[in-house]
Point group: C2
Chain length 374, copies 2
């Protein structure tokens, strides 16, 4: 196995705080609406046009209700109880655009907000809230032809079970029967699972919209669970990619090539991942340059010219991060790769941190160029 | 629209209580294990070999924590706090085999158990727990060829949006490209959604296992959201099937026939539903006998010979319920249908009530005979 500076990447990933928009103090506009990530019919949580979030939780006999979202990680937002026993509160300031995980702390215990839908993050099903973004159109549900997200259960002898993955197939895939497609293997981050990229990332809608606008040639996206060896928080320093690499390269890739109409060669196979999924992408692409030819790290480290020169030459390197992470590291890494003769592209998501809005935008930017030379 | 005795069905469905196994008093065996429906890595809730459930919730400053599961609906199970601030408790008696929805009441507020996965029921994402059943093998995840569960987004002009459905396609569906399949349209119950039949019903695993054992000819299953007109509890008396019938018959069926390799005729199209989904099945099959030829009501009412004689003759009628519901009503209805010359089959799930174990077993019993004459 190839070594790389895990502890540096670990620090880089986790030192960037969850982002809150910085604005001057101003009045809070009373145009709050239910979050688009609420359970059907639920009025709260709500968000306003400035990005403030407002919460409402019924727990009449509780002594304390806190929301984990708030300014700068300073303990979140404390709710206050009114005379009807209902707890309410608004974030101290506006939050970054896009999706945020959160939870409630009620009398010292961690629970979800009964108004919000749940998303797997931090190794638990968390509550989710959506701050409408100025560019939300690119992942909106529109009346365009839609591809499918297929749950597959593939045999995994190395883990002695059938494992789950999701496969995005573009509109029309099931209608015609001869066209073959390139494939992107797309990984979630630490504490997330194979549901993340379609549930909170809207990867399928991003693809549907790009295809409807004629901006890309369709490809398949395969998403599976990358925490094969049960990494827990803090254990990332001990991360070994071997177990997951076996599942991905020796079990999932052959299954997908046998069961879907893929262009089953290195030229038409890409791997990308966010955060910890970027670490996995980095290791596996360098270990298996005969399997993948296009690599993308989304808030998940960099490649150096040295480690790439020791491997086969990739067709494309894509490295991205939010502007509130470490954008200079991304840009500098891509400059160095270009100088060394690699086809490398950087992308920085403006005004976002180590969160899904950065990764939605990264996928939207990556997809049109990923297989464009093919 | 055809009329039928809605209030009778309403009473029948909701008067049967959620079931608890009745046993003589005995010692509780200390062989508790984490429920198979727990979030990854979570030790609680646990179940033992007798069907008792044990809960453990951290909320050190709470004054009261209750679990909605307990004997005979008598307020559920009260947890007690130990010196470390952890709330624990065990159900007063053993519970029925199979899947149960539940939630916590903490200081007067309703929340989910952070240890359990969430399932959409009662118009909210509820916690779920699984009491291992003696016959759990038929819906177990085995190392057999697996079909896919495809999320589709189909255009719905009548509701002015793209609507979601899930389509089960059998193993090998995507490999070969000419075989066509019959289709079962399968509906969830009140307060559930299109995720229910695969998440808590394991419809895909039931099919995979039946196919692997050579017990059935494969068919597709289509599952979509049936509460189109936003029925809330108590509003079921005012239930009108028109809006959903339009979505199902005029929008979803043509989309499925255009995008999947179906046998697109009445002979090869079935509709089934559980509870409220049975009410919908009853109405829609009688309104549209040219669309469906095989009807199944799972804990969801009956057909009378009179109403069927006024319609086209179905190929098969299947009516089921749990033995703790009203099994005589099911058997009597099927006797009357047989006497009148209809091909009718009854099924009673032993020892279960108005819950998913009844419906898993109903599907397992229905699937081999559904299209067996074709």
């Amino acid at each position: 196995m190839r070594n790389f500076s895990l502890s540096l990447i670990f620090l880089w990933i986790f030192s960037s705080s969850i982002g809150y928009a910085q604005t001057g103090s101003s009045e809070i506009k009373e145009d709050f609406k239910p979050s688009s990530k609420n359970q059907p019919g639920k009025e709260y949580p709500q968000v306003n046009s400035q990005g403030y979030a407002r919460f409402r939780v019924e727990a009449p006999q509780a002594d304390s209700v806190r929301v984990s979202l708030g300014l700068g990680g300073r303990g979140g937002t404390k709710l206050t109880k009114n005379e009807e026993g209902v707890w309410t509160g608004t974030t101290e300031g506006p939050m970054d655009e896009g999706f945020h995980y959160y939870h409630l702390t009620i009398d010292g215990g961690v629970f979800n907000d009964p108004g919000a839908m749940n998303y797997y993050g931090s190794t638990r099903w968390e509550s989710g809230i959506e701050i409408p973004a100025h560019d939300q159109d690119f992942y909106a549900l529109k009346q365009v032809p839609h591809g499918n997200v297929q749950q597959i259960l593939f045999p995994s002898p190395s883990t002695n079970t059938s494992r789950r993955a999701f496969v995005y197939t573009p509109p029309g895939y099931s209608k015609e029967s001869s066209e073959r497609y390139p494939v992107l293997y797309l990984q979630h981050g630490w504490g997330e699972d194979e549901t993340a990229w379609s549930n909170q990332g809207h990867a399928n809608l991003i693809m549907d919209n790009l295809i409807a606008e004629g901006k890309i040639e369709p490809f398949l996206i395969v998403m599976t669970y990358g925490m094969t060896n049960e990494i827990k928080f803090g254990g990332l320093r001990d991360f070994k990619v071997d177990a997951f690499q076996t599942v991905l390269v020796d079990e999932l890739v052959p299954y997908v090539d046998a069961n879907f109409r893929t262009k089953a060669d290195r030229e038409h196979r890409a791997m990308a991942g966010l955060s910890m999924g970027g670490m996995e992408t980095h290791s596996i692409t360098l270990n298996k340059p005969d399997v993948f030819s296009r690599y993308a790290l989304l808030s998940g480290g960099i490649y150096t010219p040295e480690e790439l020169k020791a491997s086969s030459k990739p067709e494309l390197i894509f490295i991205s991060a939010g502007s509130k992470e470490n954008p200079d590291r991304v840009k500098n890494a891509v400059s160095a790769l270009k100088e060394a003769g690699f086809n490398a592209v950087s992308y920085v998501s403006e005004g976002t941190a180590h969160e899904f809005q950065t990764w939605r935008r990264s996928l939207y930017t990556l997809a049109p160029i990923l297989f464009s030379d093919k």
